[in-house]
């Protein structure tokens, strides 16, 4: 996205939400929803609109794991690391995912298809181990199922 368009998008989002009480998180969510991440050039715009310092805005963005300051891959895959999933093999799944994708958490595959992230509970503890693929939760995932899901993502991209 050209910088001008991006700035325009950010300004539009900020203007839409700035009047609502506690607008900071809704603004950041809307920016990330639109752009996939929160670029650094959003910080001064938000700061000015909400009468907060740039340091405060940066502080909020960096506090919350959900907000990304780098563009993610075309798909985001989150693996649950919490207790219920650990009780049924999440650590093995995590190791498998890292090695099969060849990346660590918070990194993106070389083809830009998948960003891998850790998550602490998806509320799918009755169907552990659980992962999230974009906005879909998937339950009872093992290594083979993980690979199949990634293959489906790549196949769908190839078709598109």
């Amino acid at each position: 996205m050209a910088d001008d368009t991006r700035t325009e998008t950010i300004r539009r989002i900020v203007d839409l939400h700035r009047a609502s009480p506690g607008a900071m998180l809704p603004i950041l969510h809307a920016i990330q929803e639109q752009l996939g991440w929160v670029p650094a050039d959003a910080v001064p715009v938000i700061a000015a609109a909400l009468s907060r310092s740039r340091a405060e805005v940066h502080g909020v963005i960096s506090f919350y794991p959900h907000f990304r300051t780098r563009p993610p891959g075309r798909h985001v895959v989150q693996i649950c690391r919490a207790e219920s999933c650990r009780a049924v093999g999440a650590e093995a799944l995590e190791a498998h995912a890292r090695s099969s994708l060849g990346i660590d958490f918070d990194h993106t595959t070389g083809d830009g298809a998948v960003t891998l992230e850790a998550v602490y509970c998806l509320g799918n503890c009755a169907c552990s181990p659980a992962i999230r693929v974009d906005d879909e939760i998937v339950g009872r995932v093992d290594g083979a199922r993980f690979d199949a899901l990634i293959a489906e993502l790549r196949d769908a991209e190839a078709e598109a």
Binding site: G22, L28, G36, S84, C127
Partner: protein, 569 residues
């Protein structure tokens, strides 16, 4: 309006076999013209004389096991056969080993089939499942199934039974009866009902709800708020999510009653970003409740206003702590506030604020509808009413069991849970989330009530159980508890911020066998400091899983029990 969390969809996912969209949103009064997925819509065949209602859950967990594919397969097969089927996307019954659990409405009751795969659907039709026909997946009448038959579902009465977004369905099952009664009462009378019911905060702290509401009611202020803590971050818990996805009006009604009671005209639901489906369901339900006059400027003709908005968290576990949640709602870092002042006196934007968990608010409608005594008659000791227990981890049968307080872990793990999924002995159960103690087999018979659990150094918390079999390494889990605290600490207080990192290091040294006696004493002292000196429950309770693991499973730390005692002495 908050955006749907997650990144924009570059293309639809092939996971569900259907275009990803918010399926539940298609049953509005205007749906017949506007539904994008008529085949998956509850109302496409409405008005047809002999249509058979088939229920396929829309709960995230059911979706995570392929419920959408099953719904699509049923719609397709019905189309091929010319069968008149009305597909209803209900909440989950909470029997996740059987999901996707399909139910067919027959004259003999709702007949269940599960777990159903898309490939099973043609066979189900061939077996006459629309008339409740016999099939290897048939489970009989769903309400007669042993898992459900013995439960005491007060909070979850409607979940799985109704169409989550149908206001008519909700009203037909006692919905809004509590709110109707509340608006005829004074604020003080509503609060008295809450106090008399014995309801205590279901989020984990178990503080009496009536006392909290009383404080807000008695604090004069031009603006007051009602905030629902839907940041259900504890592993092993999913009851909030199930209720929001399966019966969202119940939460809305409970919050509206709170608003009417204390004189608050505005409410927020602080929902975690990990729950995209719950978000969609709440947004749709709030819009409909407003259109029907249950929210807005004049709640049910009472002349009282109550507006409700969903705000999305951003992946910080600490925002489940009530003051960190308020900071987050105000647009700041989720850093814990020192108390006092209590949020009930100075909460959101400095105004008196009722803060309750989803389960607490969802318990309110039935208390108002049936009266405090009805609710109080369930339970044991000072733990009144019911708790929706959540069975998770290594169990054969996982899911939701709502029962009165006083049953035991053994009943839940074996009678309901069927023992471990792996077939190995259950060795430890973490009760009440990542800050709850690990309970060993010797304590499985302690009744589950708040006080009895405190007496054994554990906590009931939000009622989540995570079972581990005998392959678990408890030293590893203790280390993870400290690691989790280090990752999620808000950083405000030193015992939590630094203590958790030091805790990981000390446990590593103990595991490695480095000066065990000295390091055990150090860990003990560190846990004391965290317990006594942390601002909130994150640092203050992380020692519970750590110390319970050490106490009950010393062998995993390279100690034998006797040496442990000597080392500590």
């Amino acid at each position: 309006m908050s955006p749907l969390p997650g990144r924009p969809k570059a293309g639809s996912l092939p996971l569900g076999g259907v275009e990803r969209g918010f399926r539940g949103a298609c049953s509005a009064p205007a749906e017949r013209a506007g539904c994008a997925e008529p085949a998956l819509c509850a109302h496409s065949a409405k008005g047809a004389p002999v249509s058979t209602r088939v229920f396929v859950p829309i709960d995230s967990a059911a979706l995570s096991l392929g419920a959408d594919r099953v719904a699509r397969a049923i719609a397709d097969e019905a189309g091929r056969r010319g069968a008149d089927v009305t597909l209803v996307r209900n909440g989950s019954r909470g029997m996740f080993w059987l999901e996707p659990l399909v139910e067919v409405d027959t004259p003999a009751g709702r007949i269940a089939y599960g777990p159903v795969k898309a490939e099973d659907v043609a066979g189900l039709f061939a077996a006459g499942f629309l008339a409740g026909g016999a099939h290897p997946l048939a489970l009989g009448r769903v309400d007669a199934m042993p898992w459900l038959a013995g439960q005491q579902r007060l909070t979850f009465a409607r979940v799985g039974l109704t169409d989550p977004l149908s206001i008519d369905d909700y009203r037909a099952h006692e919905g809004f009866a509590g709110l109707a009664r509340a608006i005829a009462l004074s604020g003080a009378e509503i609060v008295k009902e809450m106090t008399d019911s014995g309801l205590r905060g279901r989020g984990g702290a178990a503080f009496p709800t009536g006392i909290k509401w009383r404080t807000v009611l008695d604090t004069a202020a031009p603006e007051k708020y009602v905030v629902c803590n839907a940041d259900e971050g504890d592993s092993g818990t999913f009851s909030d999510r199930m209720l929001m996805e399966g019966d969202p009006y119940c939460l809305i009604e409970g919050m509206a009653i709170a608003g009417v009671a204390v004189g608050a005209s505005r409410g927020y639901i602080y929902l975690r970003s990990e729950y995209p489906h719950a978000f969609g369901m709440l947004q749709a339900a709030i819009a409909r409740a407003r259109a029907a006059g249950y929210l807005g400027a004049d709640v049910m003709g009472s002349g009282k206003a109550f507006e409700l908005e969903v705000r999305i968290g951003a992946g910080a576990y600490i925002c489940g702590e009530e003051t960190a949640m308020l900071e987050s709602l105000e647009g700041k870092r989720g850093v814990v506030r020192a108390k006092p002042p209590l949020p009930a006196i100075s909460g959101l934007f400095g105004a008196p604020t009722v803060i309750n968990n989803v389960m607490s608010f969802a318990s309110v409608p039935v208390i108002l509808a049936r009266g405090a005594a009805f609710y109080r008659d369930y339970g044991s000791g000072r733990s009144r009413g019911t708790l929706p227990f959540q069975l998770a981890g290594n169990l054969k049968r996982t899911g939701l069991v709502e029962r009165a307080f006083g049953l035991t872990l053994r009943e839940l793990l074996y009678d309901y849970g069927g023992g471990s999924a792996s077939g190995r002995p259950i060795r430890a159960v973490q009760v009440g989330g990542p800050l709850g103690a690990y309970v060993p087999e010797s304590q499985f018979d302690v009744p589950l009530d708040y006080e009895a659990y405190v007496a054994i150094g554990a906590m009931v918390g939000h009622g989540g159980l995570v079972a581990f079999d005998d392959t678990v390494d408890m030293a590893h889990m203790a280390r993870y508890a400290m690691e989790f605290c280090a990752i999620e600490s808000c950083g405000k207080c030193t015992p939590c911020r630094i203590g958790s990192t030091r805790g990981v290091e000390v446990i590593d040294r103990i595991i490695a066998g480095e000066a065990r006696g000295r390091n055990l004493a150090l860990l003990d002292s560190l846990c004391d400091t965290m317990l006594a000196g942390s601002l909130c429950a994150l640092g203050g309770m992380t020692p519970y899983p750590v110390q319970s693991a050490l106490k009950h499973f010393p062998e995993d730390f390279g100690l034998i029990p006797d040496q442990d005692k000597q080392a500590a002495a």
